[in-house]
Symmetry: C2
Subunit: 488 residues, 2 copies
């Protein structure tokens, strides 16, 4: 996988990065162990995970490394920390440097203190390093290249970040296969959770079951993101599951859950959501909301293909949702056009339709290179319009992009109250009908897709999405549900 990626980098890097100079190399610093300290403890926050750009190029999950691509010789060099003699009883017998070269298909491996010397030996004059901003978090490139002797080389910071970011946007066939595997395991785990959900359990049990399945069967030591296991009204809280709402509420019959959970597989992420009734049977109202979201989901997936602008897909999903909200009698006294002008869809879906997925759950490259910069945020300029302004991905689709489609419909009190306080929006809302839905939480349906030559492949296609299919899955486990002792 990573060798294949490096081959592509070598093919394109010379013209992209160094058209005017010879003797150039790419230098990337991997994640450091200190970042994983749990405060002043000598235990860690979590098992070390590699920084994504470094992992992308080198595939090595070890803290405190450097990687170099010698663009002149098209060679890969790894620089790994030296395990001191006395540390071997803690970390295992030191491996030969050639072990790394063989395992990670590098040309040479050295200790990190050799970095400047080896670059000099190769007469490298120009080094290209990563420097940029993540458009989702607004955070700068975390692993700043900084090694003794660096001042002897001419450092270039402009081109590498956009170049590698654009490479990461288009997945290689092997990357798609990794994402397919990851989606399959997470899909099966979602089914497993569905089959074991019943009233009387707690939200945290659903998180536990998902983790159990993906770690046991998927070898996933990490989730791709904090599990969102939101029942009842909590379903309307988009990032439920964080420390302030730690998936700790009881599951009640008659309510539904929004489960947004995905595992990581060799660094590649899945991002999947299903919503279903806790007792296994949709009420009429639950089904109405669900089918509205499903309609938006299906229409978007049908429309996806190369050449389509994803912002238009967001607008399509909004239009479908508005149509359903009008049919439900929640939105009234206006035309579809007027509703769109008033951003009514964003009151019920206060987030973007989707985002890239890859080595990050919210993968990089959501804004095209050269996108206009907003002086306020130093990030790319976003539209003003509620809804669209939350979209993480404003791109014309190309083959082998991998992204989520995740429309939702929520009854989120602060968002609704804000709309009701705004006469431009309140005029379209029937408060009596809305009251019937308030407190029921929400529905989100999220799948991961790869853009193909003329459409999409749904990577999470194994995960049931039709309400009848979900009911069938949940029914298959009903009879022995109560007596089953899961972990005997």
């Amino acid at each position: 996988l990573h060798q294949d990626i490096r081959k592509r980098v070598f093919e394109q890097a010379k013209s992209a990065l160094a058209p005017n100079h010879e003797k150039a190399a790419i230098v990337v610093r991997g994640g450091d162990s200190a970042q994983f300290n749990l405060y002043d403890s000598d235990c860690t926050k979590s098992v070390f995970r590699q920084e994504a750009y470094f992992l992308y190029l080198f595939g090595l999950v070890l803290p405190d490394c450097y990687g170099v691509l010698d663009l002149e010789r098209k060679q890969t060099l790894l620089f790994v920390p030296k395990i001191e003699d006395d540390m071997q009883r803690w970390l295992g017998t030191r491996k030969n440097l050639s072990w790394y070269s063989e395992r990670y298909l590098a040309d040479h491996t050295y200790h990190t203190d050799q970095l400047a010397a080896q670059l000099a030996k190769r007469n490298i004059e120009h080094i290209h390093v990563l420097s940029g901003t993540n458009t989702d978090s607004g955070l700068p490139t975390p692993m700043v290249v900084n090694f003794p002797g660096m001042d002897k080389f001419r450092k270039h910071v402009d081109k590498l970040h956009p170049f590698l970011t654009e490479m990461r946007v288009i997945k290689t066939p092997m990357e798609v296969e990794y994402l397919r595997v990851c989606n399959r395991v997470s899909s099966q785990a979602h089914v497993y959770v569905m089959r074991h959900t019943h009233p009387g359990m707690n939200e945290r049990h659903l998180e536990a079951l998902f983790k159990a399945y993906t770690s046991y069967y998927g070898g996933a030591r990490h989730l791709a993101y904090t599990a969102i296991c939101a029942s009842g009204a909590n379903g309307a809280i988009l990032h439920y599951g964080w420390a302030g709402n730690p998936n700790d509420q009881p599951l009640r019959s008659g309510e539904s859950v929004v489960l947004d959970m995905g595992a990581e597989y060799n660094g590649y992420c899945t991002d999947l959501t299903r919503s279903f009734p806790i007792n296994g049977k949709f009420t009429k109202q639950q089904r109405t909301v669900y089918e509205a979201v499903l309609d938006a989901h299906d229409q978007v997936i049908d429309a996806l293909k190369p050449g389509v602008n994803y912002a238009d897909m967001h607008r399509l999903a909004e239009r479908v949702l508005v149509k359903h909200l009008m049919k439900m009698g929640i939105l009234v006294k206006g035309t579809e056009h007027e509703m769109e002008e008033a951003s009514m869809a964003a009151v019920f879906m206060p987030h973007g339709l989707g985002h890239f997925v890859g080595l990050l759950t919210h993968d990089v490259g959501g804004f095209p290179p050269g996108a206009e910069i907003d002086p306020m945020t130093a990030g790319p300029k976003r539209p003003d319009k509620p809804g669209l302004k939350w979209l993480r991905m404003h791109r014309v689709l190309k083959e082998n992009m991998v992204l989520t489609v995740e429309p939702g419909l929520y009854f989120n009190d602060p968002t609704l109250d804000k709309a009701l306080a705004n006469p431009q929006q309140a005029r379209y809302i029937d408060q009596k009908v809305l009251a019937l839905y308030r407190g029921s939480g929400g529905v989100r349906i999220e799948d991961d897709v790869v853009i193909t030559k003329d459409g999409v492949e749904v990577l999470s296609g194994a995960l049931p999405v039709q309400p009848d299919d979900i009911e069938a899955v949940m029914k298959s486990n009903l009879k022995d549900r109560e007596q089953r002792k899961l972990f005997d």
Copy 2:
């Protein structure tokens, strides 16, 4: 729990911290959300965990908070971040400030931007803040108090860290009960793993099973530390399971495992290890090594009581192990005294006998207050002697201290090779006999105990430790082992 702790702090703080001044307060800063960023991603490394001193005093698991104890009025103040209007759709409807006061039994709750103003309103002149070094990691206090307007108060950094550290060393009855619960869940989970271990599985399955059990039944979102699931020769690698050795090797019949795994329960940690044969039946050699470690374990537990110096317990364990190594014929041609002079035990147990357990797995206070400082490390001075110099805890035991007892015996190649290269040690080693054991890994037996009035209570007493009992547990699952499909 935390109110009870604060009561004790209020009783003692005045004389310990502020004998010479009135108008004093303790100001503690909680953990911040930024520390949990996964590089530049907007996902996190793991779910937020609270900094231990803050958790100890306030019990609130929310990032970016401050807590204040007004020593004059004996009042507790919480300062929580304000959730902006638009963030409510992500994080849930903002809670009233009084919600925090009620839930966490504080006298008042404010937003963090009110910190200086509220201190001033109370005429606080002196603030005591945490500043010190963790003796296990060598890292400084992580959450430095730093708020706008702080310069108006007189800051004291000397006394709070040692004062609260000493408080944390002696657990309250409720803290012991939390640790008891945590130990019970982790003990049951170890039994569950034992019952489902068989050849052909992978180390990672054992980690997955332990996490599944503790999260499903124990509500444990976190392990207390990275799981060590080391099979065969890996058992001799003390921190196996880290990113460079990620618990990914197959389990082979005839080999044994060292499983060092513990869950966290409301911030309190467990630290438990069991070692057993993968096929459920000790070989004669495996039993010999196991019983040597068990003898050391039992003799230490029998000897523990208030007034005992834990360094003496480490020496006791070493003496027992040496006796067994002599019986096994690995150590020869010397008296026990000569073996001790040559630090032979440390060749086979290259770590300390145990450490405090509490809000950290390696809990604070391992060196008594006023311990001599080593100018090289800025930490407490440690003995030179191999073995003892690795001991994390040099204290005379008192009632309600909670600590681990974890003797081990390992065949770690770099450590053995180093000893064989040292004539002072090599002379006592029979290399032919040693060769029979090399490659077999190691055995560690670790329990958590609380010191009682005249002995100990083993908090992990529910976890079998006798080899016959372990075999019985593993046998109980043998017949249906192969056909069982764990997560159906």
